[in-house]
Symmetry: C2
Amino acid sequence: MNKCWLRCTRCKSVFDFRLIGKCEKCQGTLLVEYDMNRAHDVFTPTKLALSNNNTLWRYHELLPVRSLDSAITLGEGVTPLIRMPAIEKQQSLRRVWMKREEQNPTGSFKARGFSVTVSLLAERGIPIAAVPSNGNAASAFAAYAARAGIDAHVFIPKDCPPLIVEECKLYGAHTTLVDGKIHDAAAAIELRKDQMGWFNVGTLREPGRVEGKKTMAFEIAEQLGWRLPDVIIYPTGGGSGIVGMWKGFMELRRLGLIQGTLPRLISVQEEGCRPIVDALKGTENQEESITNEASNPTGMRVPIPPDLDLLVTILKETGGDAISVSKSEMDSAQRMLGTLGISSSPEGAATYAGLLKLTETNGLSGEEEIVLFNTSHAMKYSSVSPSAISKRQLADYMI
Amino acid sequence: MNKCWLRCTRCKSVFDFRLIGKCEKCQGTLLVEYDMNRAHDVFTPTKLALSNNNTLWRYHELLPVRSLDSAITLGEGVTPLIRMPAIEKQQSLRRVWMKREEQNPTGSFKARGFSVTVSLLAERGIPIAAVPSNGNAASAFAAYAARAGIDAHVFIPKDCPPLIVEECKLYGAHTTLVDGKIHDAAAAIELRKDQMGWFNVGTLREPGRVEGKKTMAFEIAEQLGWRLPDVIIYPTGGGSGIVGMWKGFMELRRLGLIQGTLPRLISVQEEGCRPIVDALKGTENQEESITNEASNPTGMRVPIPPDLDLLVTILKETGGDAISVSKSEMDSAQRMLGTLGISSSPEGAATYAGLLKLTETNGLSGEEEIVLFNTSHAMKYSSVSPSAISKRQLADYMI
């Protein structure tokens, strides 16, 4: 496999590759770097076009596993990127695409990160690990850990959608509900991990999850014929998807596979928990974000992202932005996507709500090519009761 | 596109291609035939290997649309086929694969059939259509109809899982719950369709759904490097998947792309509603199947398959079989698959339960290569209540 190492995004120090996420000198986020001269020969459009690997492991030459044989795969990645002609027409936009991340294993985009992370754990014989999560990361970790025979411990806020909690249990994860937010779940793990021998696979705590997420950038470029969209609207919580996509595009540019400016990366958050929006505006107001209870239990509710500085730097560097949408805007967007044949998670709906907000405020030129992300299925968040009465209410007719 | 026509599976009469499912002379099932001389030139492993279409429309040369531009696609097909090493080891089997059909749009294998069928409706400007369904066909039809701007009417037994009913509504389908089984839903459509102007897209009533399902056979062959497995275990209700896969393999054989005998097709049904099992044994006992209330509301519960003779012929011709499993065997199989990282529908779990039953009764040689089908996600069938109490019960700990 390709040689790789870690570099600090802050002080630029270099470290041998290992499963750490923070710089030992300055506590900056560490990201993986590869031998790009070698990658230049083995990571080519022609080789990829001939690959019969229809998972994200088709990009293994830029993933940090020791051997492709050790990849823990459930069939993740290479999700459809479909045109949304009805949105284009309605909003007078040139091209709008939807990246259907709900078609991953475990029904969410979180599968990507954990396929890579769990492969790294398995290669090193790490038998037990834990993750704090708003839900989908927990269930994805649980599934990949089950596949690898690793003991999974997941810590989730107690208001997490019940079906996602059920899914974690189905995959055999030790599941703890926490009376608090995701940082309280993280604190609960930190408190116990040494005693319990848990490896913490939380956001930006090891290199695998960002590397898995960066394959979204590789796929968009490959699916568009090694061409980039102008704008990507992405629901953002901890931010590993933004870091990953930015990193992926930068690697493609270094390899000469794409030219020009990177897509404007636009983070969407929910009103009530928008630390990235606040930080980008320079009105950091974390305390308010933490205490505001109006925000709903979605993957975007991360009051304290692990590296806000890095996110702000990336969004600014790409000419991007961070915007917030309300719960009712998300609900309305989810209903509209439904009538177009797309079952969207609240987070996925938030990207469409974000698009609508941007068109209203002239934040998009009609000529831009835009990619939205549907990160999961609507049904994972459902609160439909199983009683016959509610079913009768659901249907139009009962005969 | 490729020239095609219809041929009756019973009396062999030939008809021009149109949206009918039954022979006008003998009421036998009609299937599509293509100009195989032309297909020989355009449907080749090399052309497919170079295709950048990662949906079932990569096989468009053997699909009955007039133009690829008219395909109504949401990103269906090309689902992962993953090895299940834990099952191989545990059951002393050489190779076991899982076809992850839940990674289709709408979270189920039903997307395939309706992508093709709705494309056919859209090409002909048909504005309104109806389907009787146990749930997943209804939600898939609803999504594709939404994409195409076709008015969808779905008729579902009232004990259908509530999340699937909710999904139909999300996609904007007119949803009717029927106090009965799927044939009662079909009868309700027949009663109203002339007055309402509905086109009935029920199983084997038009050529599209079987054509969409046959792409499962194409994919298995292509994903295994134009080699076939020995056994396919498939959950069977109306039977369009069995007909479709058999048809797909026959077409590949006619094109010389695969050699040797076809895979043994093994249908799995649930005890309490097993008309195919009974018919294969020659102990047709439809009345018992219809009245037996012990069978659960899954896609396998089809008391009166539309062409039982054709199914029996296909299963016998491939050296296959039809077996039944109990609800508790399905539940147990679902839990076991969960601990291997797979969230399976009851129908998908039934294929694993079927494998276990076959190994117990020496119905499989250890040397055979086996494909199981996971047709949907466990969560679509969930009856988890949204109350906090049930969430507490779900988790191991609450802190």
